[in-house]
Symmetry: C3
Subunit: 357 residues, 3 copies
């Protein structure tokens, strides 16, 4: 974040779902140096203590408002880069290097942070309800049976536009022609809900494999049966299984490329985008991994992101529904997810008002 | 427009003259690829159908708000870059590649677009009143008797500041000393109206020719008689004739360099600037053309634009008249044009209200 | 200021102290070319007349709002870059190059400007009260007994955050560890007022000298006695004396490095930062000077400025006191200065209202 903290309004402009798990980043990228982030328009500092446990605390020093995540970790505590106050993972000020050295009693906000499957998951709501059992299962990310390529970036555009993008796989033919081709544009699709989860399934038999994935699988120019399965977890954590095999192959015997697409709002206009794709073949082949990583990064950062950025700008700050979007055959997933999220946010805010009353 | 769609407010901030012809760009720069533009704070997509006819439609896809002008032309229709809906020049959705494939009945906005004299002219108002006969005559742009150099750029600053700039040729001595020198600063000037058109005329006898134009005309260091004629067509399309000849030469026998300066508002703070200058000598001399193009581009983009950008910023969002500008001898054209435009906009809005009532 | 005039609101957003001396820049950097600046959200043009006397006038031409400070100096007057009107140091229009050439009677705003100790000092309030005797004494800047290194830059962040930074020397150990080390973090400190001036004093005996200053003084690895003295003049002009010597050295016999840190608000979010540091040894040693200048520029521009920029952004536009900052032992200077400035501004505005009544 070389360009500095994003500019923020006096208070968050948008109502977010807070009592849920957001992806805060890749666990192994949080090392000895802390990180400064903005999630849901709130500054957050991430750091590891001496036991290596990752913590998330409010990212603004209460003394002179410096970005704590730009500080240093000293003896397992987070030291402010400006005047050296140190905070522990409970948000308590544990060291004041200045003469006198009294420790202020007030605390930083603390956000439950869980390290699982190679990811850091952060809970921005009431800590009392933070149940790690609610974290979606991405076990393949940490399973040696899978080789994983991955990335993390900041993207312009509202986070719901990014989850819409994954739920509507039909875009792939137009946005990623070299990589995905028509696999998910013309086939059958089905959308349904399961509790708070939304599912999208795309099935297309005997369609051409793209140059890109054909080369990856060693099946250039072959027809394939395709299955695309997307699972959306509120508010914007998605799994996408790309499944393909020679015509007639049983689905379970097809090649599976599972993906994670996790979107965490930074501001109403910007989104943290964390992604990964796994494979269970060519394990340990670094050249293969690098080619795959490059192709996916190109698809997400050079093909998806500019279109979503400009779609976001063309919405001109209007509410999605107020713009009366045309509903096409591929929108069943995105619309279910948007409505579900709306309900969850309304419910959470209703509860907040109840508990405030 | 690599940097993406400009950021726009929820609705246009400014009242523009809509029932008039604006320059949308150079016709030959619209080829097989569509273009995305913003005119009068409205997104527009330009494309050519299979017959080569250019069309202008609303630039935001009604499905998911993607920038249509970043799509592709497929079989003469404009295909959305995101999910592949296709639209024809009437704004109708003519192809839905998704299963089911119903065609929504709603249409894109359509803007009359006329190709004339090498330019695309767009009408942003009620199409029923779009009369191509009202397009100003720039026949020399397409006349083989003239060689034309030209350009197109985006400029920061309100479009009226840009037309003021051309109407007041006296700036040339200060902003473009190498190119124009004092030709139009000290001579006589006359301003008048003719219907909705505003004219400015500058006459100066026996003044020094600049290094730049002197070299161009092969008359370095000579005195010349100068005539500068500017014609303004609402809202901001101007012709400027630079006329010079040895002292005593009849005006009709002098060298004429006609110019087009067309300004189309993108936003209240940014302007599309399309320009051209012609000559009827050194025809076919590519080196001459390139030197001339370079000198003019430097003058417009490096000399005019920064001053107008900063003048715009120094207005701090205030209305021009509220700032009580000093009126000098060269302002007769700009002031007439501003008042005319104000009247035309008020009249148009009055009509709109009448027809709405 | 290649990127153009900063964007300004319709009127200043903030209440500044106006009847006081601000640093407008280094005197010797104002030569034959004028300069355009924004101080206190007002555009200002600086130029020298034929006698070499520096003047400050309103930076927006009343004709067409061009940035006068981007013009030229012609016969000791400031010529507008756009249409050539010329103004003298009294703000009067003294030349109109256009036919007719009447001189408008209205005048530019004029700001008292004094050249002293190598600096230009500007008074943004009622000129009748501009008393050069109130300019703080920085005689060492112009005294041949001192070699001075210096700089000037634009910094993001509110100007009071920048004066806070100097008044609380305890930051040096954290922000500038290589340059200052712990000299002012653990010792005693004392803060007091003296009329409208605020003082901060830091004393620490027998502490380690940093690598950076140790190398500069030829005393690497030695313990030193340290004295840090900061004097704040409203609104944001500070002197900082760094004093160090071998343990037991009388204070007057220690090495003194005096510094100027002058902050002039450009906008509520940006600050002109003018700094200098002197030494009375290694006089005339250009290599020494260059190393010293580089080290200080690095400290101010690469270490202080990013933290203060981000602290400013993390304040999210809130008032400093509304954020209930924790008060530490090093804040006695900054808090006194903030309160003093608040009183001075309130007093000035009260007077303005009285005189308006």
């Amino acid at each position: 974040m070389r360009e500095g903290v994003p500019r923020l309004g006096p208070a968050p402009r948008e109502a977010y779902l807070k009592a849920c798990w957001y992806v805060a980043g890749w666990a192994d990228r949080l090392g000895n140096e802390p990180q400064d982030r903005v999630f849901l328009e709130e500054p957050v500092a991430l750091f590891r203590d001496e036991q290596g446990v990752a913590h998330a605390v409010g990212g603004r020093c209460p003394h002179r408002f410096a970005p704590l995540g730009q500080g240093r970790v000293v003896e397992g505590t987070l030291a402010c880069p400006y005047h050296g106050l140190r905070f522990d993972g409970t948000g308590a000020c544990v060291f004041n290097p200045h003469p006198g050295g009294q420790l202020p009693a007030a605390r930083l906000p603390v956000y439950p942070l869980v390290e699982r499957h190679g990811l850091l998951w952060i809970w921005m709501g009431d800590a009392a309800h933070a149940d790690p059992a609610a974290i979606p299962d991405f076990g393949w990310l940490a399973d040696p049976a899978w080789d994983v390529v991955r990335g993390a970036t900041r993207a312009e555009g509202h986070y719901e536009l990014y989850s819409d993008n994954i739920l509507d796989l039909s875009h792939a033919n137009f946005v990623h022609p070299a990589l995905v081709a028509s696999a998910f544009t013309e086939g059958e699709r089905r959308f349904w809900q399961d509790g708070d989860t939304v599912h999208a399934e795309y099935v297309q038999m005997g369609a051409p494999l793209s140059q890109g994935i054909g080369a990856m699988l060693g099946r250039v120019g072959e027809l394939q049966d395709f299955y695309g399965e997307v699972t959306w977890h509120a508010p914007a954590v998605l799994r996408f299984d790309f499944i393909a095999g020679p015509p007639g192959t049983p689905r379970e015997a097809c090649t599976l490329l599972p993906s994670l697409h996790a979107f965490t709002p930074e501001t109403p206009d910007t989104t943290h985008y964390v992604w990964a794709t796994g494979r269970d073949f060519a394990l340990g082949d670094a050249g293969f991994s690098e080619a795959m990583r490059g192709a996916l990064e190109h698809a997400f950062e050079r093909e998806d992101m500019p279109i979503i950025r400009d779609s976001h700008r063309l919405m001109r700050g209007h509410d999605f529904w107020d713009l009366k979007p045309w509903v096409l055959n591929g929108d069943g997933g995105g619309i279910r997810a948007r409505r579900m999220l709306q309900r969850l946010i309304a419910r959470e805010r209703g509860q907040d008002q109840d508990s405030a009353a």
